[in-house]
Symmetry: none
Subunit: 133 residues, 4 copies
DNA sequence: GTGGTCTAGACCACG
DNA sequence: GTGGTCTAGACCACC
């Protein structure tokens, strides 16, 4: 499998979250199909040169969301995604990120138009996800 | 009172950051005009039932962004926004928030269309900022 | 030890700022190379006999300037310097220091020639910075 | 007398210090000759729209340095400047400002050449002082 | 009265 | 172990 991870240890976002994002992005873009096997915690940790605990945390996060499944003794696999949040729960989680984005954008003097532009650009990267869900 | 704050101490986003966001939103929507005096550190701390240091931190953050001005012994004032950061730095600060938003939205099963919709709704709230700066 | 700090708690300049200056000087003179790890907040606090918060404040100041990088759980590292501020902002921050210097020098009866001499002497100490950034 | 003050209340440098600087600069450039009478505390406070205490503090600072003299019931006058500091004392006061300047300049990514240039420019403004001391 | 700095010590997220 | 956040309360400079 040709899936490669891209982690920047110096970023402000935690490494375990970056790993989560990479896997979600991989699924979204179709690079990680359902039932694909992911590298083991140990293997991925070695590949990314990070602490195995960090990888384990990322996997457990994804497992809690039903995105991946660890089958005892067999490995970690991408699974059909289940919808586990209520609409209220989803909004409760998303809204602060949206507020944070707007607030920071305003502080940085982005115009609404500029912000929309970069938003759409980013969205285009994620969009291929749709067909896969 | 002309401006009321709304803080949730249990949130994952730090209190000082929530204060920053509230003030930026107030400015963006025109509720806080230029040269308006903000509540004193101690007064706001009492109102929000938080430590004065927490408020002070929020204020100093905003001051560094050039959004407010603190005059020793006189108080804190809303000021004409200055452009402080280079374009590269602005993007460097905004992009991770955008990535985080996309990633979380996808994890929550938002479709790109849903996400765009809530984005535009939020943007409309902030947009009045433009004419006021 | 590769780098020693020199703090005077009785000075008019805040301790956290003295720490910043020491580190910037270290980098400027090449004693602190890029990707060098700095002492941990707690370790440096103990060494200087100051409160950990004071050290943390100095570090966060430098991080905001793009001079160092703090990686959660791993430590603080010297980083490649980024240009963070707009030219206007840079001058806005430098000019008052220059004015203060001139004013104080004149109050102390320094002649322009004397002042230039000590200026050049100090500049020579900092100058090695250039090749290192 | 045509001497006018120029105070910015929003600056980071305290107002009383700005007043001191203005008067020193006035003397330096010859606009305030020896024996010139300065405005009274009350009058200057009104002119600058600041607290009279602030003006009083500036005057007392200058008086302590022997730059001005308040003659009971007659007013405040510019006087021959006396040298009141030992060489060590002078250096002890000047050096931290010089260090702060260098450190900030380095943090802002000024090259030594750039810094020298703006230093010389500022010095040129102060230079006329020489003939007057 | 105002904000700025510092200390002391707690809790949490991250690796 | 690391840094980030918050609280509590002190002292000082400024107005």
């Amino acid at each position: 499998m040709a899936f490669t991870f891209n982690i920047s240890p110096g970023s402000t976002t935690p490494i375990y979250r970056q790993i989560c994002e990479q896997i979600r992005l991989g699924m979204a873009t179709g690079k990680l199909a359902i039932s694909t096997q992911l590298p083991s915690v140990r293997a991925l940790a070695e590949e990314l040169v990070v602490n195995p605990n960090t990888v384990a945390r990322a996997y457990s996060e994804l497992a809690r969301e039903g995105i991946i499944e660890t089958r005892a003794g067999r490995g970690v696999f991408v699974t059909q995604k289940r919808r586990v949040f209520t609409p209220e729960e989803r909004w409760r989680r998303l809204e602060p990120l949206l507020d944070g984005l707007m607030s920071e954008a305003m502080a940085l003097d982005y115009t609404p138009e500029d912000l929309r532009e970069v938003f759409e650009k980013k969205l285009a990267v994620w969009k291929p996800a749709k067909g896969n869900q």
